[in-house]
Amino acid sequence: MNKKQSLFSRIMNPKYIMVYATVIIFLIIYAYGAIRYGSIGFTTLRTFVNFFSDNAYYGISAVGMTMVLITGGIDLSVASVASLTGMIIAYGYERMGISPVITMLVSILIGIGLGTLMGAAIHYLNVPPFITTLTGNFLARGICSLISRESISINHPLIDSLAGFKITLYHLVDGEWVKIKPITNINLTVIIFIVMIVLGTLLLQHTRFGRNVYAIGGSESSAKLMGLPVGKTKVAVYAINGFCSALAGIAYVLVVKSGWNMALQGGELEVISSAVIGGTLLTGGVGYMVGTMFGVLLKSVIPAIINFNGTLSSWWGKIATGALLLLFIVIQQLVVSYTGKKKAG
């Protein structure tokens, strides 16, 4: 059935309309930046790659968050878990001499464990996700502060080499490979971000697990009646999200090379709003990884424009983000009600 549909009608499927809206808004803002600040380097490939690397850790976490939101849940603990990861790596090496490889594995296990625990509380004890994960947020942040209340910088060759790892982009000029100017590097965090987006898309769109996630988000009781493993899937989604948060923490460590108990404060809302800007509905059942990726990119474009402008103060950035969020969700709402009417008509 699917194969008989033309490529065009498959692409124009109304269920992707939110993703297109995100992409279009991204393009509009990008075009605005290109016209205003094109002469001072807004259109270079490096600026574009920086959109990915600026918020790569939020992006990695947003992959897990998208899945959680699709099930109709929410996870407020991601930023604290990421901060805890950084703290474990920093404290483990600098104060106790444990190799970062071990602490990374341990913190990933802690992320998965905490996620599983919260998922179990949400499903089996019927506690609202908002409250469960808020408690998880306090717990992770509190443990972080118990470990150390000051920022610990990490000086370890492995972290340095991972942070320094980059792929320099070349392009073909007159049959010769030369470095793109200005020199454009893709570092490890960007690679992890893109790999996670791809893996997330595969998991959601092409596996039974992914279909279960959408089914639960659409209607949990129907999913249960259909005999789908609701409990296991929900717990697994929170566990995956825990994994993503720990990975985001590692990516953050690669950027800042330190652990701090107050790192990434309020980051959970950045992650959630990126996913929502990307077209994921908080009510569940709708959302795509590609949309989330563009949501994260949108979050980097606005500060970039403010930076390029140079005269706007940083608090205008907050207001601009708020205004953009408003603009975006209003458009989303119009799109939803328009398609809804079309269907009804």
């Binding site: 929410i74 407020l76 509380a121 089996y124 004890l125 019927n126 506690v127 609202p128 908002f130 409250i131 469960t132 808020l134 408690t135 998880g136 947020n137 306090f138 717990l139 942040r141 509190g142 443990i143 502060s145 118990l146 209340r149 108990n261 107050m262 809302l269 959630i272 709003s273 929502v276 509905l281 908080l282 009510t283 103060s313 608090w315 205008w316 950035g317 907050k318 207001i319 983000t321 708020g322 205004a323 969020l325 408003l326 969700i329 209003v330 709402q333 009600s337």
Partner: protein, 520 residues
Amino acid sequence: MKKKAYLIFLVLGLALLAVGVFFFGRICAVKDSIYANYSLSFSDASFEKVFINDNDEATVAADFDAAVLQTAINSDDTTVELSEQVVEAAEATEAAETAAGEAAPEEVTQEDALEIIADSAPYDTVIGSFSRVQSLRTAWKLQGIFIGGGLLLCLVAVALVLRSRNLDFAAIMRSKITWAVIAEILILIVCLIIRPEFFHISYQPSNRMLYGNLIDIVNRSAEITIIGMGMTMVIALGGTDLSVGALVAVSGALALKLMRWDPTNPLYQTPGDYTVYPFILVLLVPLLVCLLMGAFNGVLVGQLKLQPIIATLILMVSGRGIAQIITNGKQYTTMYSPFRVIGQGSCLFLPTPIVITVVVVAAVMLFVRKTAFGTFVESVGINPSASRLSGINSKVVILIVFALTGFLAGISGLIYSSRIMSNDSNNAGINYETDAILSVVIGGTSMSGGKFSLTGTIVGSIIIRTIITFVYYFGVSPDSTMAFKALIIAVIIVLQSEPVRNWMAKRSQARAMVKGGVAK
């Protein structure tokens, strides 16, 4: 006989409280004499550190001197409020210096005062003997035991009254608020066993106010309780309001700007006991702006049908930016005394925030429960379309609830900024939204909307504050408080969760049936 059990508890509890009040008098007398001898009003926290935590006389003396000195240094005025002793001593020194032929300074400067305080060893002059400290300490501890014990017995009596009135014990066990109250009682019992001094209450003559941890818990929970009244109804509608913390910052920024902002008049460039605009405007403008911002949330949620979390996220993200723009990134401070009363003053011997909270809670409860509005909110929360069909204008209900929440956040912002006498756009009201939501949920209102309990929210916000005060009291660093808060809240939430409550209710029902069978 059995029905009268609560009377025994009540009488015993009240008796213990009365004995506590006797010790209250003793403590106040000792404290009064200290304050009278040395009229520097140093803070009760350092007072407590000196008289409760230090072990031997040498440390008590050293810490007491250090605390007095620290208070003098912290004091805002250029000339410290000094006791007559110190001033006389200073004048005597000056006179001696003048006699020696040096140029006499015109008045006692702060540096002089500090030197004299450091030299005069306040502990020896004021307290004198360690036995006085010890007797104060004993009185303090005994008062804690009696007041704490009396309070707990009274709570048990209330629980028994509830039980005897409502015969369905299972229903009580199933109610979430029961578990919230039980959790609060358990925390207090732990306090009573480990550190009875926790419950001490004394009278601070310098600002005509009762002082003690119990008072402090209620006082400090004021902001969250006030916001919680609105948040309860927002949650009853099935939403959440994340913007309240940012609105607290906006309200403080506006109030401080109205008191301080006048670039033309050089008089108003330094903080002082004045206000540029009339005080009534200082109070009304922030409240009105917060009301409008709340209404903005309400329009987004009600008219545009946006998801509340995202709709209020807009103001949460941009609100602090707006607060920065209002004050142009500045942090104003003020010393305007009527404004200080809001957060630090006393009213009926209690801290003003408690009185404000009582008034606000009473007003909201009257509005919600004596009009049909509460029912409207519940019906919109349970089923918006059904309530629309039955003639309720859900958009207006949503608008009013969000606007009210914004208004209440504005009141909280005034209290907060009056506590610090300054505006702090980055830290004012931080995490208030999560604390308010937690209090509502601990208080038994379901996140999925529908029925709500304002009383429950008050209990919830007091529990959260109790946890924080309790953890601070045992000397845990403020940052790590979160871990303990999380653990205790996790326990409460597990106890409150549906499966656990149903299980407990079934068990108690079964036990009641077994007992009934034996009696027959």
